[in-house]
Symmetry: C2
Amino acid sequence: MADDDRCQCRIIHEERVDGARRMAPDAAEIERVAYFFKALADTTRLRIILALAHGEMCVCDLAAFLDVSESAVSHQLRQLRQLQLVTNRRQGPVLYYRLLDDHVSRVADMALQHIRE
Amino acid sequence: MADDDRCQCRIIHEERVDGARRMAPDAAEIERVAYFFKALADTTRLRIILALAHGEMCVCDLAAFLDVSESAVSHQLRQLRQLQLVTNRRQGPVLYYRLLDDHVSRVADMALQHIRE
DNA sequence: TTAATATCTGATCATATGTTCATATATAAT
DNA sequence: ATTATATATGAACATATGATCAGATATTAA
């Protein structure tokens, strides 16, 4: 188990470990950030977010664009909704989805720049 | 299967679907970005990156800071290495890890700001 | 060379996750 | 009311993934 495997050695830089502990965000924040990144860590959701960055689309549009089933899109949109990344407005039977704010797309763009560097 | 479930309806906004297709990064880029975000989508790796943003640490330090086994840290560091997010220098038997550049930590900081908003 | 420390690696296992399928809900039209 | 369209949802299944365990490698000291 982890205890047996854990470092029995002197800790090389105790002050760095303490420093890291002091600087680190608390566990709750870390988890929320990890969930945020999970939203972007799937190609389907990532493409949804990048597409919605240019304007709202309905589920039907997204399914056509992504070339996946509407059910799959709907499941992913639910996740993005729960994470407060997208929202929708209804017009008749059609739901138009859009980004809730531009934070996500800005982060996604930064990542794109990074891998293109 | 997906074909049966796919949208048989008129595509609500054909020009939007085409627009999204034109604006979208190609599949290879999308995948690389998704992998980049996957690196940040796990609390252990996220904490490693945030810690290394303040300076290099050895595996031993990281295991102590994270309170996980050294084996687990080593596995995660390998992933981060393969993704070109961290690198290391050897000093005797000790490997000191550091971020390869500050892109990752800047993205992580943006995400932190986002969830704190 | 032998022993000890620091790290790595492959296999395994349990959990998480994305898609599919079948079905349900909601709105609009007939 | 009935039918059709648009979307949502739950269960099931197959794959991906993170941690653990056992053992390997690399460096240093004795």
